[in-house]
Amino acid sequence: MNVAAQSLWLIPALPLAAAGIGALTPRGGRMLAAGSAITALFASLVLSCLALNTALANPAVHAVHNFAWFDLGAGAVRLGWLLDPLTAFMCVMVTLVGLLIFIFSLGYMKEDANFTRFFCFLSLFAAAMLGLLVANSLLLLFICWELVGLASYLLIGFWFHKPSAAAAAKKAFITTRIGDLGFLLGILWLYDARGTLLFFDGGAGILEHASLAALSGQTVCCGLAAATAIGLLVFCGAIGKSGQFPLHVWLPDAMEGPTPVSALIHAATMVAAGVFLIARVYPLMEADKLLTAVPVHALTVVAFIGAITALLGAVIAVGQNDIKRILAFSTVSQLGYMMLALGVGSWVAAIFHLLTHAFFKALLFLGAGSVIHAAHHEQDIRRLGGLRGSMKTTFATFAIGMMALAGVPFLFSGFWSKEAILHAAHALDGSPALRSFGVVGQLPLAIGLAGVVLTAFYMTRLVAETFFGSARTAEAGDVHENSAVMTVPLVLLAVGSVALGFLGTPAFPWLQARLLGEAEVHGHSLLEGGGLMALSIVLVALGLGAGWALYGRRPRAAAAAIDPLAARAPGVVAALADRLGFDELYAATLGRLSDLLAMLAAGLDRWVWGGAVNVLAGLGRALGLISQGTDESVINASFDDAGAGLRGTGQVYSRAQTGDAHGYLRVTAIAFVIIVLIIVLGGIR
């Protein structure tokens, strides 16, 4: 198994090589760039499957291969690769979903002039994302973490001639960097406290017992355990990357990127990296779980941030009209569910939902892309309508994705993974801290249940407005189903969106058992905890019913017709359409603060520090008036002291002020170099 860990680097290296090829390929080499990207990712998929096979043979083992990156003092900075079921499942998902999206892009980006560049950036992203997954070092993970951020920046701003895309790219980079600074501080703290950043290193790694015991035993400011403080700092990175409240504002804007990018990076994989990160360092996050005398536990914060985000995203999604923005806020909300699962103590539920979500959300985004591509880049659902008949495959697959996301019972994967989360929030077995809160501890569950209604509601609205009724504009009227290169990936993703759920049903939770490193699978009857399941099924039905009643039964007549919900509560819908004003709030506070600091820095420079120098210079000039030539002699004096060789230069300087520098310099330079050479040669002899 260690041999497998040793060659794990190939999984990210192949797409990286493809990115290199893509970068050096001129614009004309479209097939070379796309071909190498797809071939490399396919090879990575095969390798990932082999790795998964190896990992499942011994699911409890964390196989590692560590090596020194560079020397540092008496030691070295070490990095490494890690193979365990978590890494392997994630690699298979990323390469499989990625491959389908790459293929879809062949069709979607066909007419783009920068087609080669697009595949180059996609490969770069895949390489960084896979590197992040196979890292056995928090440092290596952070390096890849920043590189996926770069790829995201480049791809959001892919249509850089659009000012909105350029601005969205910058916003994404800066917002996630704010979170990353907290992450960086957490890394620095860990490094300083433990002297290593390797996860597993034969007992010395940061996720192994000795380290966890030391970190949870050490108290830092405000009575926090060091493990809690570090855990929360690391979580800052996840907040930024995974679009959690309060740093969620960049993710909807990221929809300025081409739709396959939204599917791959801003739905299925990169934004889930924060969830993966917390799952990866879970032993650290829960190291404080048995401490009682601490003001807060790291996972409690994770649970509440996740719950707030889950609700916030779902609420705002109700008021959006752009097909991609609805899906984007839905992603924010679903990532919140995953964080909630992490926070209430079940990282395997979080990863289960991450995997199913990757398939059905990629499916939904590609479906949206298929619609946008066919409808001449119309993205407003009010201006679409009636696509059910003209785009049968897209409609059918999109409907499967929608039902998986909404949590329609039994057949669809989203139902099972969401159930796992709700059960964990109900049981709180892994979170004694939340459990001790009593009613407040059940708040995440309550919010999670509220989100279920909203999710079913906004997805019903999206499908009803887009696919039902009749075409409301010329763009929507003139659509045709896309070619197979785009529809086949949809079908395959739809298959995954159904099938994946059966890997983790309560009756046979195979995925959960393997992730936890258990060789046996202990299922239990569906009737156990059936009450909660029944409740959530009722809530799904409620959401679907309300959505259909408002939007499906009497379809919108015209693009400009008023929204039935807005007719009932105009103020609320306007606030939701405005995303509850977070952007404005941040611009007025943080943006203003940064402007002020910049003005202060520039002003200090100009008036205070520069002013002091000018005052000094003015004094010098005044003295010079009293005693002619003071300036000159002051300046020259320092040269004189420096020795005879410099005297000539001092004269050059004073001579230059008379404006006759040219000829004089030549002579001095010759003289100077000769003098120095004589001295040197004399010295050598």
Binding site: F70, D71, L147, F160, S594, L597, A601, I684
Partner: protein, 504 residues
């Protein structure tokens, strides 16, 4: 060991070139450029030879040349090479030829321009290799003269006041340093850095000077170095000087000359005055943080791209001093953190030299294409017309903002790791600088390269082969050193380990 005086050759070969240029008054501009480039490249070549003779594991100074010079004054001609010197010699060898290539289009007095440039290069090399204050100071001051004329004669419209301020400010600082060394000489009778460092390590330097004088002398040397780096708030000469200088000179000023001050801090101030530096470190940490944070935020406010990069230089160089001051202020022994801080500071010097000179070159390209304009809003959409330029400039930019995978990250990460271990609050405050750096660099990128094609960027030609040749070596190194930092770390780690081990 080898028979040839490699270090003298490194210093004086550029000056031989200057001499040749001075003598050949009829040479064409093209010939002058070729000669200058050839002699400028000698640093890299001879530096590489010196590298092969250099045993990084051995420690101490190597390839030493030491001869009595003015025996009555106990002045020696004393050159020596350690990992830090070698690093900076190689950096000079990379930046100087690139700066000359960037100046290929200078037509007015091309011979004088190239001559001055070679003088400047030799003087900077002398600073990195001299071990006796006497000729170290000669090199130190001498570097100002050609720099002054390069700014004054080939600079922008505001060049005259900028050049005067630059020279007078720096000389004023140096005067204090000179006076301080006069006192040291009077007390100890030697001006050689290794001897003085030994005295300081034994504690007898402070005894010989007496407590009051020791503080005064420390302050004198500190002022001279602080102005040169520059340390906040002694930096006000820098934005104007860097912005008004011609592109090639800006590249050399930021790439190499800004390292002379940091080098002085590490070579002179810290070994000679550890106790004084320790006592002052509380204030100095704040000053370094001022450079890191206010430098970056001031850059955010600039509309002149050259001034923006100049402020970014203040920010980046301040990280090096932040690392040193954190080590100097440490109250407990933390060799791992100290080694990290030192390694980071040395790598940062090299990395900043590469990225900042590349960025100044990119602004120079913009100026050349637009008839001298370099405002933040003068362009827009340039990536459409010049994708290669946009790509290479973008790589330099991401290197500068510390993106992992490129060289800048390694140095900054090590500095932060070291500073966090020694003064955690300072590392937390310095994070603001990282954020502001990302903000202004991405703003630069967005306004210049993105958006619809603006009038300033229509007819914008992509990089010519010569321009690619100027930029490409640095960009390749950014990747190489980002992935394999061991290439440089191998040179400096034994040195750094020794420094960290000798901390109190």
């Amino acid at each position: 060991m080898s028979a040839l005086p490699w270090l003298s050759l490194i210093i004086f070969t550029p000056w031989v070139g200057a001499l040749l240029l001075a003598l050949s008054s009829r040479a064409s501009a093209a010939a002058c450029r070729a000669v200058a480039l050839g002699f400028s490249l000698s640093t890299l070549l001879i530096g590489a030879v010196a590298w092969t003779h250099f045993d990084s594991a051995a420690g101490g100074y190597q390839l030493v040349e030491r001869y009595p010079w003015i025996s009555g004054l106990n002045v020696h001609y004393h050159l020596g090479l350690d990992g830090m010197s070698l690093l900076l010699v190689l950096l000079t060898g990379l930046v100087a030829p690139a700066a000359l290539l960037a100046s290929w289009r200078v037509e007015r007095d091309a011979r004088l321009f190239n001559l001055l440039f070679l003088l400047l290069q030799g003087a900077a090399l002398g600073v990195f290799l001299a071990l006796d204050f006497f000729h170290w100071f000669v090199f130190w001051e001498l570097s100002l003269v050609p720099a002054f004329f390069l700014i004054r004669l080939w600079g922008g419209p505001g060049a005259a006041p900028a050049a005067y301020q630059f020279v007078i400010y720096t000389i004023a600082g140096s005067a204090f340093m000179l006076a301080a060394f006069a006192a040291i000489y009077a007390a100890t009778g030697t001006l050689e850095f290794p001897q003085l460092a030994d005295l300081a390590a034994k504690g007898s330097l402070a005894v010989k000077l007496g407590p009051a004088w020791a503080t005064a002398v420390f302050l004198g040397v500190f002022l001279g170095l602080a102005v040169k780096v520059p340390l906040f708030p002694f930096h006000t000469w820098l934005p104007a000087a860097y912005a008004e200088a011609p592109t090639g000179a800006s590249m050399f000023l930021t790439g190499v000359m800004s390292k002379m001050g940091v080098y002085g801090f590490l070579r002179i101030l810290w070994p000679l005055f550890p106790a004084q530096l320790h006592a002052a470190s509380g204030v100095l940490l704040w000053l370094a943080l001022g450079g890191v944070v206010l430098g970056a935020f001031a850059a955010l406010k600039q509309t002149d791209l050259k001034r923006m990069i100049a402020y970014s230089s203040i920010n980046h160089v301040s990280y090096c001093l932040l690392a040193l001051f954190a080590v100097a202020g440490a109250t407990t022994s933390a060799p791992a953190a100290a080694a990290s801080a030192f390694s980071g500071a040395l790598l940062q010097m090299f990395n900043h030299g590469l990225s900042a000179s590349a960025l100044f070159f990119c602004v120079g390209v913009l100026e050349a294409r637009s008839g001298g304009r370099r405002g933040l809003d003068d362009f827009g959409g340039a990536r459409t017309a010049a994708p290669v330029f946009a790509g290479l400039c973008g790589i330099a930019m991401f290197s500068s903002l510390g993106l992992p995978g490129l060289n800048g990250f390694v140095g900054e990460f090590l500095i932060f790791r070291g500073v966090f271990g020694l003064a955690p609050w300072a590392a937390a405050v310095a994070c603001l600088g990282l954020l502001a750096t990302a903000l202004f660099l991405l703003t630069f990128w967005q306004r210049v390269f993105h958006g619809p094609v603006a009038s300033g960027a229509r007819n914008f030609a992509d990089l010519a082969p010569l321009e690619i040749a100027t930029l490409l070596p640095g960009v390749v190194l950014m990747f190489l050193l980002g992935v394999m930092p061991q290439l440089l770390v191998g040179l400096i780690n034994p040195l750094v380990t020794a420094w960290a081990a000798h901390l109190p």
